[in-house]
């Protein structure tokens, strides 16, 4: 098979670094899909991306499609032939439509019917004929942000300035937004020039000679190497920061790492603030010594070679100096304002229109914190610390530093609180109450931090849902989903035996008198429960638990998920066993008849038979032990306790008519069944579980 090599390059004004990685992947996938769709086999597809170009090299592309022989099906035989056995109009029309004569028709049986067929031969098109179609691949690329430029109407990531399209040495002709394809590319904006690509396979090397490293991975590796070199020469530690490395490597075509320094006096600024300033504003790597202490140096990456590095370093130092002077000024100014002065300012800061100011929110969180501390049985000093932390949890929001770097909320709170003489627990809890800040982030370590974190999140979630802010699709401006996950994770991590329903109730008790809600209490309850249910179900699903079991273990509300998961895993195992069948059947019988009425209390004097008496006694006997096992999160033991009721239940139903005519006796029996059902629900709704035993045997 004859093959050729292809190069497509789109030259652009600088694309945003954050979109490059995805764009390159997209180009790769779409190129391959396109090659498949035009039936041109290839050996290798390689993509390249820099801020100024997107490129793809196709190696070993077939110069021609395979010729194709296809069968085309026409009418059924009885329609294709008339009564005399001549070709009918339908048959002639069919063959003509396929570019054949009627005599080319042959018959084949498909599902008991004979049909007319012709063989169709299509000669493969040449790559030359097909390659201009790559234009559609370019136009099919999508970007998170598009723009128009000049007189054009095309929306693209940035203006297209040149196009290279080469089939070996021949230009593949097409045009996009007034730009025609050619064989000329451009090197580095300042170090390189305009050059002709003589061979698609030389693309990467040619660009290299023009100070462009086209392969994003190679740029990244090169920067890593250069940073290592700086570490080695100076005895530094430069912590690896994948995100920053990725961004920096997509900001340059020819990276050269260099270092600069700043005045030692700036090291008095908290290091989180220094690092954020260097990273967020300037994309610098911070430098540490062997002890992990921040040093007065930074490492940056230039788009260019190692010439005049001193000038570049000096310029960068000047910029950083101005930045750090600002930070220093902020840090000093912030310390002139007391916590109380800052809290006063929160009275003017709106949290959410219907939910009031940040100050209002803090007041609610303080009350909630206090109730939560009681609920989990925290000791006095923990409760005191947690309440204090809640009171001042948001004071840093009005500091200059947090104003400048939102990311530092909580972090600065902890620093300033310590400086202002708050105790260590309180200070730490201020920072921790934002945790987890994102998926996979650490959870609060201290009990105080955990309490305030849960209180703050509950207030936001329930408050927002109360006023009708319920996340839909990608719309979740207050990050309620993440916060709900956070609450569940903390409950699980701290092993608190407290249900979401209880949390909802205490929060509602605080919210209700404030009359902030636009929805009724019942509506809110329903929405909040459904909201947490979805998050909990998600966590369980991630643990590999199946839907029916999820429904069973969440039937009675959401609580400590570690225990929930244990219960779920136990049930998943149980339902594989024969012995589970009578247990489940017994409880399904209980549930079915418990539905007929309510628990109005059991009167032992109304029992009429031995089985009835015995079931009641067994229930009473087991109940105490069972509840204790539930409280101690002993899944296995609790399940065993429930199982002990099985025989008594079956015996009861075999000898007792629940729906008897005697109203009092009937009510009594239904009450007993309701009590047994409630007991079971403390563990799980066993009726939800699908019987899997027969599938496994």
């Amino acid at each position: 098979m004859k093959t050729t090599n292809i190069l497509f390059e789109i030259g652009l004004e600088e694309m945003p670094a954050r979109f490059l990685d995805d764009t390159e992947k997209q180009l790769h996938v779409k190129t391959i899909e396109w090659l498949d769709s035009v039936r041109l086999p290839y050996q290798k597809v390689e993509t390249f991306v820099t801020p100024r170009r997107l490129a793809v090299v196709i190696e070993g592309l077939a110069t021609k499609q395979e010729d194709m022989e296809e069968e085309a099906r026409g009418p059924a035989k009885k329609i294709a032939l008339d009564q005399e056995g001549n070709w009918s109009k339908a048959a002639i029309g069919f063959s003509k439509g396929q570019g054949k004569a009627a005599d080319d028709i042959y018959f084949k049986t498909i599902k008991d019917t004979e049909y007319a067929f012709v063989k169709k031969y299509t000669e493969g098109k040449t790559a030359d004929q097909l390659l201009s179609g790559f234009k559609d691949v370019i136009l099919s690329l999508t970007f998170p942000k598009n723009m128009r430029w000049s007189n054009g109407s095309l929306r693209f990531i940035r203006p297209i300035r040149w196009l290279v399209a080469l089939n070996d040495q021949t230009i593949i002709p097409f045009e996009i937004a007034g730009v025609k394809t050619s064989n000329q590319t451009y090197g580095h904006r300042f170090l390189g020039g305009k050059v002709v690509v003589d061979n698609p396979l030389n693309y990467e090397e040619l660009l290299n000679s023009q100070y462009v490293i086209a392969d994003a991975k190679k740029r990244k590796a090169l920067i890593k190497e250069q940073i290592k070199e700086l570490e080695k020469t100076n005895g530094w530690i430069i912590p690896e920061d994948q995100e920053l490395l990725e961004e920096v490597s997509q900001l340059v075509e020819y990276p050269t790492a260099f270092f600069g320094s700043f005045s030692q006096e700036f090291l008095t600024i908290p290091k989180e603030a220094l690092i954020t300033s260097m990273k967020e504003h300037q994309r610098y790597f911070p430098v540490l010594n062997n002890e992990g202490e921040l040093l007065q140096y930074f490492v940056a990456v230039r788009n260019g070679n190692d010439q005049h590095l001193n000038t570049v370093a000096k310029g960068n130092e000047k910029v950083l100096k101005a930045r750090l002077s600002d930070a220093m000024f902020f840090y000093q100014e912030d310390q002139k304002q007391s916590i109380e002065q800052n809290l006063k300012k929160l009275e003017r800061m709106v949290f959410q229109e219907s939910l009031g100011t940040i100050s209002d929110k803090v007041n609610r969180v303080v009350k909630l914190t206090s109730k939560l501390a009681d609920l989990i049985g925290a000791d006095n000093s923990t409760k005191e610390n947690a309440v204090r932390a809640a009171q001042i949890s948001k004071f840093d929001l009005v500091t200059n530093m947090v104003n400048e770097f939102t990311k530092l909320q909580g972090v600065m709170g902890e620093k300033y609180a310590s400086l202002f003489g708050e105790n260590e627990h309180v200070a730490k809890a201020i920072n921790e109450h934002y945790m987890p800040r994102h998926a996979n982030d650490a959870l609060p370590q201290t009990t105080e931090g955990a309490i305030v974190s849960v209180a703050d999140k509950l207030d936001t979630i329930i408050g927002c849902i109360s006023v009708g802010i319920i996340p839909t699709g990608s719309q979740d401006p207050y990050a309620l989903r993440r916060q709900a996950m956070g609450v569940l994770q903390i409950l699980q991590d701290k092993n608190w035996s407290i249900t979401i329903e209880e949390l909802l109730n205490v929060t509602q008790d605080i919210h209700q008198p404030l009359e902030i809600a636009t929805n009724t209490k019942e509506e809110v309850n329903q929405s909040v429960s459904a909201f947490f249910y979805a998050r909990a179900a998600y966590i369980l699903k991630e643990e590999g638990i199946e839907q029916d079991i999820i429904e069973a273990v969440l039937a009675n509300g959401i609580a400590n998920l570690t225990f929930t998961i244990e219960k779920a895993q136990l049930l998943a195992e149980k339902r594989q066993q024969d012995s589970f069948k009578p247990v489940q059947e017994a409880f399904v019988r209980v549930i079915n008849l418990a539905k007929k009425g309510k628990d109005t209390g059991v009167n032992i004097d109304l029992f009429e038979n031995k089985q009835e008496q015995e079931l009641y006694e067994r229930y009473e006997e087991i109940k105490k032990m069972f509840m204790k096992q539930i409280q101690l999160f002993e899944a296995n033991e609790a399940m065993m306790s429930l199982e002990e009721l099985t025989d008594s239940i079956h015996a009861f139903f075999d000898h007792t008519m629940v729906m008897t005519d005697n109203e009092a006796v009937k009510k009594n029996r239904i009450s007993l069944l309701n009590q047994i059902e409630s007991l079971m629900l403390e563990f799980a709704d066993l009726s939800k579980i699908e019987w899997k035993q027969q599938f496994s045997s």
Binding site: M147, W149, R161, F190, N303, V312, G315, K318, A322
Partner: protein
């Protein structure tokens, strides 16, 4: 190179690119973008190439002349080209070379920075240009202005003159920059900086400013109803500056703030629409001229 020479150099450079050299607009404003020479003229199909220095007032940035980087009023050199030329990045880089900045000796980069001005219902995509890590220019392709789609697209280049000068002259304090031989920025601007800061943060008459805002707003609306675009727009600018004075004094709460911005935005949108209608009624005169030129070619 002193600031005066920088201005002359940039004016010559952009004049050579067929930009109309304009003078600063005579109503207070927060940025060169707000001059009608940019905001209104960037709308509609007529070609428009212009360059001018704009003194820009940012009351909240006033620091009594004590901060080496922040000013109540700084200077922007503003360039607008509509439609955006294909070689606009090269034209810009050439201007830096003329200011004595050799790209080979520095690290010049175009770093994504999308510009949005909710008060003006305006948005654009582009970059901040970094010179050895310092932001010296804002480079924007307008996509929307006054809530209307920008078509054709105008490109806006805004040089921060004091920033750029502090690099070129290697000075750390903006007041030490040379405006012209023997005259510094401090000589000219220290007193107004101090006085404007004092006025903005301590002395301004809040009640009067609130009243003025409403008065200007009403006048803008009335003038607009008469179809008088440019006078109406002057009052929008006055609204905007008055709002900035009140905001800097900290007398506008967060919720009120959104409402005020909304009021200015509504005016800006209405005027943008009116401007395009009026130009259309006049038959887009500058478009015709362009057409004639093309015919002659």
């Amino acid at each position: 190179m002193n600031i005066q020479e920088m201005i002359l150099t940039l004016q010559k450079h952009w004049s050579d690119q067929n930009c109309i050299l304009m003078q600063a607009y005579d109503v207070e404003k927060g940025a060169g973008t707000m001059s009608p020479m940019t905001l209104l003229r960037s709308l509609g199909p007529e070609p428009w190439n212009v360059a001018y220095v704009e003194p820009s007032r940012r009351p909240a940035d006033g620091r009594y002349g004590q901060n080496p980087n922040r000013l109540y009023q700084h200077h922007q050199f503003q360039v607008i080209m509509k439609p955006s030329p294909d070689n606009i990045q090269d034209l810009y880089l050439d201007s830096l070379k003329k200011l004595g900045i050799d790209p080979l000796q520095h690290d010049i980069r175009f770093v994504e920075d999308n510009w949005e001005n909710p008060t003006l219902g305006a948005a654009g995509l582009g970059w901040e240009v970094w010179l050895d890590g310092m932001e010296i220019t804002q480079f924007t392709y307008f996509q929307q202005i006054g809530g209307l789609e920008a078509k054709p697209v105008a490109v806006e280049i805004t040089y921060g003159m004091e920033r750029l000068a502090s690099y070129i002259q290697d000075k750390e304090n903006v007041f030490e920059l040379e405006w012209t031989d023997g005259v510094t920025v401090g000589d000219i601007f220290y007193q107004p900086e101090w006085e404007h800061s004092k006025y903005t943060f301590e002395e301004s008459n809040t009640t009067m400013l609130f009243d003025l805002f409403t008065t200007y707003e009403q006048e803008a609306k009335q003038t607009m109803e008469k179809g008088l675009v440019f006078p109406a727009y002057d009052y929008v600018l006055k609204c905007s500056h008055t709002f900035n004075l009140l905001d800097a004094k900290g007398v506008i709460s967060v919720t009120e703030r959104t409402a005020y911005i909304g009021r200015v935005r509504n005016l800006a949108r209405a005027i943008a629409k009116l401007y395009v209608e009026e130009r259309e009624r006049l038959g887009f005169p500058m478009l015709k001229e362009e057409g004639k030129q093309n015919e002659n070619n």
